[in-house]
C-alpha cells in the first residue's frame, strides 16, 4: 500500500485558498468542487484529490501547513482512506468539477 493526499473538506471549505491546486506538480490531480461543503453551510467549496493520479509527494501538505497555515491535508494509506475521488468519476462543469466518491482499491483483491 502507499500514501496519497487526503483533504479534510470541512477545513478546506471554510477557507478555500486554492493554493494546493496551484502547487501540485501533477496535472488534473487536486481538483476543485465549488459545491463541496454546501450542505454544511460553507459557501465557497473545497479541493479534493483524484487519488489514482496522486504520486504521494506531500508538497500539498507542506503548502497547506506552511503557506496557507490551514493544516487541512494529511497523507493517508490508500486502503484506509475510505471513499474518494477517482479520475473516471470526475465530471467537469462550468467553472467547477465534481466527483462521485468511490472506493479506490476495489477490484484489487
Amino acid at each position: 500500500m502507499y500514501l496519497v493526499a487526503n483533504i479534510e473538506t470541512e477545513i478546506c471549505a471554510a477557507t478555500s485558498c486554492k493554493l494546493c491546486t496551484q502547487y501540485c506538480p501533477e496535472a488534473n490531480t487536486i481538483l476543485y468542487d465549488n459545491e463541496a461543503g454546501q450542505d454544511k453551510g460553507f459557501k465557497y467549496g473545497a479541493a479534493y484529490v483524484a487519488v489514482d493520479r496522486c504520486k504521494g509527494c506531500a508538497q500539498c501538505v507542506w503548502v497547506c501547513d506552511n503557506m496557507a497555515k490551514h493544516n487541512a491535508i494529511k497523507m493517508e494509506m490508500i486502503d484506509q482512506i475510505g471513499d474518494t475521488a477517482l479520475t473516471e468519476n470526475v465530471t467537469y462543469g462550468e467553472k467547477t468539477s465534481s466527483a462521485v466518491l468511490a472506493n479506490p482499491v476495489r477490484g484489487q483483491g
Binding site: 488534473n28 487536486i30 509527494c57 508538497q59 507542506w62 479520475t87 467537469y92 467553472k95 468539477s97
Partner: protein, 296 residues
C-alpha cells in the same frame, strides 16, 4: 494546431477515452484560463513518468496553463527530464536531437510564419540546462543573435539529473554531486547576461514557488516572441533526487534558493514594452502620463 483539430470525428466521440472527451469538452482550448482556475478545467498536461514532487513538473504544468493560445502552440524539447512531461500534453511536441532544439525551433517558426502568415503560432522551446547551456549552447545563442521569434525556457535544475548527477555549466561553483565528487571548479554560467547581449527582447528569472508570477512571465514571453523578438526565461526547477531534497520540502528549497541566488528579475526592451502596452492587461507598460501629455 487549431480549434478544428481539437474535436471529435463525428460519431466517434463516445468511443474516445474519458481523458480525451474531457479535453475536448472542458479543456482550455479557445478559452481564457488562468492559474487561479486550475482544478476546475481539464489541463492539457496528462499523466507522465516524472519523479514525485519534481519542481520541474510543477513549472511545466504552470507553463502549460499559462500559454496564451494553447491550441496554436508547439513545444520543442530535447533529451532531459523535462521532455518526459512536455511530450505528454495535448499540444504538439517536437523532439530535437540533443542540443538542436533552438535550431529546430528556428526552422519551425519560419515555416509556420510562411504557412500561416499573420495568424500567430507560438513556438516554445523547453529544455534543461544541459541541453541549452552546454550541448546546445551554440544553437541557442545563434538563434538569439538571428532574432528568431520564439520563446526559450530553460528548466534549470543545475545538474544532469537524467544521467546520474554530472555537473553542468549551470551548476554552482564548489557544488559536490554524485558524478562531480571534487566539486565544480567554475562559476555558474551567466545565461541571463548572454541573452541580453545577444538581443533577447524579454528575459526573466523565475522560481515555481509563485505560480501567478510564473503565469505572468510565460504569457509576456510568448506574446513578445510573437511580434518583437526572442524571449528567454530561466526557471529554477530543483532536482530533488540529485540534490537529495525530501519531496515535501521542495517548495521550501525553492523559497530558500529564490531568496538566496534566484531572485525574480525581468528585463524587457522598450520595443517590447510598447508592444505589450497595446495589449489587454498590460497597462503598466503604457507611457507615463507626463510623456503622454508631451505627445499631444
Amino acid at each position: 494546431m487549431s480549434l478544428d483539430y481539437v474535436k471529435f470525428t463525428p460519431g466517434f466521440g463516445k468511443f474516445m477515452p474519458k481523458e480525451y472527451r474531457d479535453m475536448v469538452e472542458h479543456g482550455p482550448f479557445g478559452k481564457k484560463v488562468s492559474v487561479s482556475q486550475v482544478g476546475t478545467f481539464k489541463e492539457i498536461l496528462e499523466e507522465h513518468p516524472m519523479c514525485a514532487g519534481c519542481a520541474m513538473t510543477l513549472f511545466i504544468r504552470l507553463a502549460m496553463v499559462a500559454f496564451p493560445n494553447p491550441e496554436d502552440t508547439i513545444t520543442v524539447g530535447t533529451a532531459g527530464c523535462g521532455r518526459l512531461a512536455i511530450s505528454q500534453a495535448a499540444i504538439p511536441f517536437v523532439y530535437g536531437n540533443y542540443g538542436d532544439q533552438n535550431g529546430v525551433a528556428s526552422g519551425l517558426t519560419r515555416g509556420l510564419r510562411l504557412r500561416f502568415g499573420d495568424r500567430p503560432k507560438d513556438v516554445v522551446v523547453m529544455a534543461g540546462d544541459g541541453g541549452m547551456a552546454d550541448i546546445g549552447f551554440a544553437q541557442t545563442l545563434h538563434s538569439w543573435f538571428r532574432k528568431e521569434k520564439f520563446t526559450t525556457i530553460m528548466l534549470d535544475n543545475e545538474v544532469y539529473g537524467n544521467t546520474g548527477g554530472q555537473e553542468s555549466g549551470m551548476t554552482n561553483r564548489n557544488q559536490v554531486l554524485k558524478m562531480a565528487p571534487l566539486g565544480k571548479k567554475f562559476e555558474k554560467m551567466d545565461m541571463l547576461g548572454m541573452a541580453k547581449v545577444s538581443g533577447c527582447a524579454y528575459v526573466a528569472t523565475v522560481v515555481p514557488n509563485n505560480p501567478r508570477r510564473v503565469e505572468s512571465v510565460i504569457k509576456k514571453a510568448v506574446l513578445v516572441a510573437r511580434e518583437i523578438g526572442p524571449s528567454y526565461i530561466q526557471a529554477y526547477t530543483s532536482c530533488n533526487i540529485e540534490y537529495a531534497i525530501p519531496t515535501d520540502k521542495v517548495m521550501e528549497d525553492a523559497k530558500t534558493v529564490e531568496n538566496d541566488r534566484y531572485k525574480f528579475s525581468e528585463y524587457i526592451t522598450d520595443e517590447a514594452k510598447e508592444y505589450l502596452s497595446q495589449l489587454y492587461g498590460y497597462k503598466e507598460y503604457l507611457p507615463k502620463p507626463a510623456a503622454a501629455v508631451e505627445k499631444q
